[in-house]
Symmetry: D2
């Protein structure tokens, strides 16, 4: 979608889009690219889906047995067929019926010939917000997005979140009166938004689950400082704290400010890694093929900052550990005396079935460092990484910090740290979903 396309080729009064490496089904397959657009008995319907269905395999098998032909290999297409095969006449009834068969994490945005429909799953795993844009000529436009920073970019105003278990309908009437249709298809009380959105995925300038990510991330950084500060330099020199840009910048500032509060005046925030911006996010690129080359071309060290210093690196999480290990090597090559790693989350130990694109459990760094009690050997991991010390934020510390920033949230999904899955996942799916 270059400028020309956006200005000249896109017409109409409503649009939906999606920017996603599909988390189930290969994103190399063009048919899997969202949004999907279909024509069915009630007219045209376009759908974009963020998240992952935890019963996708069962749904697909059931639909295939019925004689359904799939155009893609994604879980999202199941939702479309369930809607089309519904016996109801009314589209909202069709959707409500279809969602009764669906389990897992999903934010849906659908477009019909006259309505924009937004849906959030009963657990509220993923964020979805409603925005409003005053177009200046007395007209108002409504939009929905995963992250509210998208509203800021187009000059729209945040209205509220789509609630877990809610279907929001924006139609001609909405523009005229400001009222959305709202339908409940679940009254589940206990919501379990994904804590990893705060830790890594969302941007600091986004309001997520009712709170600014920036604020939550600072609290997390502060809690990490309370749990583990770096040693002092016995030569009396300043100890440097740097972030792995850009996702850890905010938490690093929190970490440093808390250190100052704890009377560690020798600690200084610095910029020790420069990011080369023509390379995409590492985490989200599928396959490990060219990972190493990508890392090398993604970060560069600032020698004048690192040379001869005790360096503390704040990072948000460790998945495979390959990026961080190479970074530590680069930092040492730039002359650092010591390298201490502080992670703003607990160890990622379990697969996510709700849409976070972690690698298979075997590829996770912790899998290679489990002791006889089934606990990760943090020191051994630190040694493998080449760090002088490694500290992860505790699960309790994470809970405390998040709740301090966002009291309204009743609970969070921490399954990737604790294996405490809020929605059951059958074993068969567990193995295959991540192929």
């Amino acid at each position: 979608f270059d400028d020309k396309v956006l200005r000249e080729d896109l017409h109409g009064s409503a649009a939906i889009g999606h920017n996603r490496y599909s988390t189930s089904g290969s994103s190399q397959n063009e048919a899997n690219i969202q949004p999907f657009l279909v024509t069915y008995k009630s007219g045209q319907l376009a759908l974009a889906h963020n998240g992952n269905l935890s019963n996708a395999r069962q749904l697909r098998e059931m639909l295939t047995r019925r004689g359904t032909i799939f155009q893609s290999t994604t879980d999202s297409e199941c939702i479309l067929h369930l809607i089309a095969q519904s016996p109801h006449e009314d589209q909202i009834d069709q959707i409500q019926g279809a969602l009764r068969d669906v389990e897992g994490a999903y934010c849906l945005v659908m477009l019909t010939h006259d309505k924009l429909i937004a849906v959030r799953d009963p657990n509220g795993f993923r964020p979805l917000a409603i925005g409003k844009l005053d177009k200046g000529d007395g007209n108002v436009a409504y939009c929905v997005a995963s992250e509210t920073c998208a509203f800021d970019i187009i000059g729209a105003e945040y209205v509220r979140d789509v609630e877990p278990g809610e279907i929001v309908v924006i139609g001609d009437n909405t523009v005229a009166t400001g009222d959305f249709g709202s339908y409940r298809f679940s009254n589940k009380r206990k919501h379990t938004p994904c804590v990893f959105e705060y830790i890594y995925f969302s941007r600091p300038d986004s309001m997520i689950f009712g709170e600014m990510t920036d604020k939550v991330r600072r609290k997390i950084g502060k809690q990490l400082a309370i749990e583990s500060l770096p040693p002092r330099d016995e030569r009396g020199k300043r100890v440097i704290v740097i972030s792995v840009p850009d996702s850890s910048n905010t938490a690093t500032l929190g970490y440093v400010h808390q250190a100052h509060k704890l009377k560690r005046k020798d600690i200084r925030y610095e910029i020790g890694l420069i990011r080369n911006h023509y390379v995409g996010r590492t985490f989200i690129s599928p396959g490990q093929d060219s990972r190493e080359r990508k890392v090398r071309s993604k970060f560069n060290t600032v020698r004048g900052v690192l040379k001869d210093r005790i360096v503390t690196v704040v990072d948000d999480s460790i998945v495979r550990g390959t990026t961080l290990r190479l970074l530590i090597r680069l930092i040492r090559e730039a002359g650092a005396r010591q390298v201490h790693i502080r992670i703003t989350s607990p160890p990622v130990m379990h697969p996510c079935f709700y849409g976070m694109d972690f690698p298979t459990q075997e590829e996770l760094l912790v899998s290679k460092f489990m002791d006889e009690n089934g606990e990760p050997d943090i020191d051994a991991m630190g040694a493998w990484l080449g760090a002088d010390s490694l500290h992860y934020l505790s699960v309790d510390g994470l809970r405390k910090a998040v709740l301090k920033a966002n009291r309204s949230a009743s609970g969070f999904c921490h399954a990737c740290f604790t294996a405490d899955y809020p929605v059951p996942v059958t074993l068969g799916v567990r193995k295959e979903e991540n192929d």
Copy 2:
């Protein structure tokens, strides 16, 4: 498909293809391009369809009501859904069941993971032949094609036609033993192959419905000469007969040879029109938009041949008449004294519901020249075209000529000339199918 693609990117032991302006559903829509490839409960299935279903609208309505989502706007996709929704386990059973609901004209070529399946409708409207290629290394390959000239190009040998109402299955076994599976899903005795394949569509070097098109076309040309020769030049000069290249070349030779037999030694075959080969066939290009420009850049006259002569032009058919009218103008500009038009078919007066891509009835030339008895006014048409005389082959003459060449064929579909449709068409479809 350029050379590189054919040599490097196409792998495997079997393939199907299709080269068709879709006759129902817009060919501009990429989703309508055949073959279709789907995955369903019994595995992968690819399908290419030549012809038109006469109950396409009813099938689509029925399937949509059941909750079926269509990927394309073509009639061909209905067949796929009928197969996928069949309660049978065996693919041949599924296909036989699906075809029971389908009416009209269809030659199907399907590919599964281990079989090539070819089907011809019970009426045998369109041709479909089986070929065999000795690969020299003791191996044999089988192929099916609408026109046998495709076999000659790759060096394959014609084996036999797929029979009307027959499903032919070519599998690993076929290659080993030379036996196809053959299944009958209809025992209809009266076949109605399309006579227009002989008149215009097929190539002279193709064996169609059991006879070479070249032979049939010569007989047609001879019959036309029996019915109507051009006048003599009273100055004693030769009378020139030219064809509209290339589809009328063969019939024109038949016309001239018969004229010689009828003692018209003054008649001479000549090449008076040169075709510019970088322009595609006019007949098959959808929409009338740039037709006139295309005609002008498609034919050029040879003045030395036409100047001061009585010229007879043999053409295969008149649809809209716009091409021929412009040709006559060009021939007169080249100096022809008189221009006589001889057409190797009766007037096209009725729509084809079986796959021949005629324009709507209103666009047909005859529609504009109907007299009070519902008969076309041939003289008025000739005058509009700018011809000194116009003669169409009679329906009886056509029947006689075709049967003389091909005695084995029991009957033919002449509905476009006579409105005698072998498979009933409901009125609703009749109107909309040709939108």
Copy 3:
């Protein structure tokens, strides 16, 4: 240049184009694609060149020694640099000066900001004609083209040829008054137009060197019939004469009509080979790589015509012989009893340095069949081709036939048959030009 480009993206009142496999310099190299457009001290200049300079290597060496940087590897670019480096102010003076250094065959079409300039070399090797298009609104447009059939396609009228050694200038004045500027840069009396244009290259509907190609080609065919008719079929059956379509069609008609005049009533013109029109001309495709596959997919036989007959094939020339050899095999496979080859030109024995894209001398068929006297062994060639007999038109017969059709032409270049080169070629170039 698809329709969209032609209608929407091309503006202005004048244009030049070129459709050519570059005959010196590789056509794979995008920089070699004509027309060239340059900006130099007198403004913009675009140039398209048909033909070949026989002193290209010397010109390029001279210009390179002067410090000239070439953008392409073609001979045509030399002309541009000679013009730009001319000391004259006036563009016509610059061109006249530049052409004094240039030798060989060239038709040039140039475009400046206000003039269309057409040039033909002093020998007149290649054709170049002026056309005039009445645009209906009182305005007149002028055009130049190698073949006059281009005028017919756009509805323009042939005015006259650009004369050998003439520079024709079409400007605003021309459109207003109908006068071109005309400048002579050579008064050479003896012109040597290329006879191969008549034999093969030009279209029958083009007026070339003052006469219709169609007429010349018929005379050539008639002369061939005088020189060598096929034997009779002792069974009293008709003897078939077919052409290799489309370049030999016209000559074949001449051959057959002359045969009838010579009382050979048993001879009949037939269409025995069908050309598949999605494949380009064989002759002009560079490299032999995929030639065999191309031939197979280019022609198909009509069995009903050929079976059990004595078949005479009329073709325009034999270069490598590979196409014809395969054709003869196909004709025999179709059941022909005998195959007699009649060629409408003498054997091609010598390279062309004036723009006809023959292969190297070693690749010519005749090179492999030279007897001790340096004469080609025609019988041995026929045997290699698989023909029952082979006859070439004699050089004298060719001269006679061409002059009969076109008395105005004073002489022709037959160097490819006789090595009688009208413009001297240094040995060094001779070897390398055809690499």
Copy 4:
């Protein structure tokens, strides 16, 4: 150049590249894209040019008068023609001769069939460094680059700068012995590297003109703090200092650290602007067409940081001022009480003729705010921007800060601030070069 191209399509032992919006000649014109590759009397030569020739117009006129045809509209092509037209045989002699006619700023990288040649102009306006890569198998590769951060990315080691007035030749011999050829074509003593490379253009992790940009930029930030700190918040709240990411990040850290040294403990470094990384640098995009939309989609504010605060924004320079003005508006919308702007350079008041792509003088913000003495009215500019205060670094302060960081550099070009041009520019060029 995607991964596939880099791995599969690029062969050979040496390569050059260029990543540049051409600063003279339109970059829309494909012919202007560097590197240029030409063939001339001494073989092939490829050239990439960073910088701008100040006598480009005179060179082009001289060359055009000689009959030279240009392929592009860039100044860089002049160098190639001067080399090709040199009477010398030896390539180094040709280059030395050519450079005698050339004035202005240029770093050249050239590739011949066996040598990589790097050149830096006598003033040393732009940086150019030599790197060395140990390939692990005993082999060594050499490379040159404008910024040394490129060496880090590929794991190469910085060797030294190409000196002003030096031609460095890297050939087979270099790889074997580690010696470059080095030729002097100028002995100018006074070098004038561009100070704007330190202020804005280079990356902090690059060694430029013998010193790390990071270090210089910190000194500049410190000097700015000495010159002008923001007011205190009378409510006792912290005063926030934010940078415009990413080019001002380092200088902002220097500013904050110096503020702390100056006992302003109330000042805190914060991240208040988030950059959207899918949008390119504003400064370098030619034309103002879509600038405003780009800015909006490039930065987003962090409300939790800015709300109710006195905010100080550190930016590197003001060119048109449009980006900064919009940023100030966004910061106020996020709730800032006051917005103070501190710029790490003096006002840009004069055009750069040495390669920095400033807009025309009329488009510069200062041009609109000149008082009667020809001095910029800083307060009026601050008001137009919407800032509570605006302070530029003084020219003296800039000099002092740069020299403190890099004592080895004898002098710098500050012409864009002071109009003190080290190489004379004729008035005619001055006007047209920036069209």
